[in-house]
Symmetry: C2
Subunit: 161 residues, 2 copies
DNA sequence: AACACAAATGGACCGTAGTCCGCTAATCGT
DNA sequence: ACGATTAGCGGACTACGGTCCATTTGTGTT
């Protein structure tokens, strides 16, 4: 009973990708704070309207960028190459994870700010944190640590996030 | 050894007051989120430049407004009429304080958001909180409560702020 | 009272986020 | 292959925050 799924037009999909690439590049070059929507639109070779049609507003675009990087990061430590991914001994994996996480936060810092809308201050934090915690907990299983693993995971993450 | 204190010109003082009045009124009428700097300048009968000269930026103006109300609020419970001010039995004063505080927060809500600049999320909170705490602690002295008064004050305030 | 000078003013001006709507071209039924 | 339909496009336009600077005005001095 397939619904007659209204496809998104091919050019729209293509444009979304192009915009994200351009934004990614520009944010990398000059930081999330100073990059303007016009710059991005121009660099992507699309009109401003298209930007806003796809991402709603500036924050929406920044969030999309953030999600992308977050996915890539998680991919790395879940299925990527050792020592970050599976294969290395647990201790090494944890160290690699810690280092990578610090980089991750360092790099994402201004994007996080740019993705803020009004008051809240944290939003996706929770679902994201859960993923980190699950990962650290899992790796800790392999260390033979005797205490409360969930608690240790929180302590370790607390120092980072 | 008086420094040759450079006075602020009289018209400047007058203008600052006028601007604050206008801003106060407009924020009351339509909320801090939607009020614009042009509106305020116009309502105050001054140029936009004057607004920014006095308050730096939008957040600065909102903070000034906030401070004003905060002062009025504190004045009320320190020296104002009972039951909020001195005179009423401690329990009644505390209840009055709680109610007034809730109103206060309710009303200040959007101003607080408008006064935010970037990431932080709290700034004046501390000095302001100290004032509240001092007050509640002082009033609690009169209740004959046996436990740790400072702690109780924090618990009570924690539920509100 | 007249002057000199800094403080203060105001509004033209700029850059950016976000909206709007007439036009273009991708998609689909025939 | 060929319209008909309409999602999607793009860029002119609006609104707002913030800057700048030529001009005005208050103030202390002579």
């Amino acid at each position: 009973m397939l619904e007659p799924v209204r496809h998104e037009r091919a050019d729209a999909t293509r444009n979304r990708a192009t915009i994200l690439e351009a934004a990614e590049r520009l944010v990398g070059e000059q930081g999330a704070q100073t990059v303007t929507m016009d710059q991005i639109a121009c660099a992507a070779g699309v009109g401003k309207g298209t930007l806003f049609r796809h991402f709603g507003d500036r924050c929406g675009l920044m969030r999309a960028l953030l999600d992308e990087r977050e996915r890539a990061f998680q991919e790395d430590f879940i299925r990527g190459p050792a020592p970050l991914g599976p294969g290395a001994p647990p201790r090494e994996r944890l160290v690699a994870f810690g280092e990578r996480m610090l980089e991750h936060i360092e790099i994402q810092g201004d994007l996080l700010v740019a993705a803020e809308n009004g008051a809240p201050g944290e939003r996706l934090r929770h679902s994201v944190y859960a993923a980190y915690r699950a990962h650290v907990t899992a790796v800790l299983q392999g260390t033979g640590y005797a205490g409360d693993i969930g608690y240790l995971a929180d302590v370790l993450l607390g120092a980072l996030v």
